[in-house]
């Protein structure tokens, strides 16, 4: 048996054998990172728990709240008020801030496109060597603002749907 195999038997990543009773001082604390764990079983088990919970939730929900199916599409009907799915609520709500023909393309297409382009560029926009969210406040605050805008608009849309069920 090689060294690697014996370590693998103990369910531990190969080279990360700890130095016995190392005294950690201010000087050597950053010498090497924390001990890692092997992907199996630590991470695999946690992944499995979450997957099982999701599968059970989907199974229960599909009988308690069956997937909706409204009346068949009636192309002649003109009074029907369509509702997007909940994950598009915030988008529909944002459109309300851009009324009229001149503005709507901003809210509907241009701003989302710019946002997506910026999203692609995130790794090159934030090139600081820090990882901690505390040490790169601009990225963190921007991210929190985006989440706030999405959540607030979602809440606005939900309150609108509750207040005006007929549109």
């Amino acid at each position: 048996m090689t060294e690697v195999h014996r370590d693998a038997d103990q369910g531990r990543a190969a080279p990360a054998k700890p130095v016995e009773e190392e005294v950690i001082t201010e000087e050597n604390v950053f010498d090497r990172p924390d001990e890692t764990m092997a992907f199996f079983p630590g991470q695999v088990l946690r992944d499995g728990y979450v997957a099982a919970a999701l599968l059970i939730a989907c199974t229960v929900l599909s009988y308690v709240f069956p997937a909706p199916l409204a009346e068949p599409a009636d192309l002649a009907e003109t009074q029907y008020v369509p509702r997007p799915e909940w994950f598009f609520f915030f988008y529909e709500q944002i459109l309300m801030f851009f009324p009229g023909y001149a503005l709507i393309s901003f809210g509907a297409v241009i701003i989302p496109t710019v946002f997506v382009v910026l999203l692609f560029a995130v790794p090159w926009l934030d090139r600081s060597p820090h990882y901690s969210p505390m040490k790169r406040p601009f990225a963190t605050v921007t991210g929190l603002l985006v989440i706030m805008v999405v959540v607030l608009n979602m809440l606005l849309a939900i309150s609108r749907v509750i207040n005006f069920p007929q549109g």
Binding site: G11, R12, A13, V23, I24, E26, V29, P33, D34, E35, T36, M37, A38, F39, G42, Q43, R46, D47, V50, L54, L55, A57, C58, T59, L61, S62, Y63, P66, A67, L69, A70, E71, P72, A73, D74, L75, E77, Y80, P82, R83, P84, W86, F87, L95, I104, A108, V116, L119, F120, P123, W124, D126, R127, H130, Y131, P133, A139, T140, G143, I147
Partner: protein, 261 residues
Amino acid sequence: MIGRVKAQTVETGKLLADWIEDRTGAVSMMEKFLYEPVPKRGAWLYTLGSATLFLIVLQFLTGILLLFYYVPTVDHAWNSVYYIMNEAYFGQLIRGIHYWSANFLMAVIGLHMARTFFSGAYKAPRELNWVVGVVLFLLVIVLAFTGYLLRWDQDGFWASVVGIKIGSYSPFIGGYVVNFLIGGDVIGPATLSRFFAIHVWLLPAILAPLIGVHLYLLRRHGEFGSEFEYTERLAKLKERQRLEEYERRYGLGEEEEERRE
């Protein structure tokens, strides 16, 4: 006797594993993947990525099963979905899982993305994995949008009408977008066929290999965080310093007490 059977079974198993290892390399690959070092901290947060993968796999499986009954024509689409919900064996369960796992998927993808963003996991050398992830995110959004019309019920139909109308506001290319999506002058049979083809063939065919790229890049650079994770060592250092401080302050007192006794 039973010992001999046991030994022979083990022997056969080993032979089989050796044969597979020799011909494919699958065993050593498995070993490499299973015992890859991952950071201890963040293990629960890292389940978001695997949960996304799991939900997408559920989407593929239940989607294939739905295709057994679903008919993508204007006349039969709604009826076939109604049949799935009320008549087909486990139809309600299969469509329910497809529906609910899609809803969970949107939430879990958002959380997965937020985790990546706030932990700075997109930084070098993982920039391209972030880019692939954003593409996957957009593909899932379009999948969610195109799936809504396939029911051909009032909700899905009119929401899609609104969605296509929003697409028509794209500057310069609005007309082309609408033409591409509708496939005619009005939303009708051609539109349903297109949304079906996009939802069932085009997007999954792009999605699946990109997931492979996403996972390959993940493995190539290793799971984020292990190379600069010092939390545990810092905690140990703090604990030791605290103990020393305590001993410095009160330790002497204890010794004095002992002496008095």
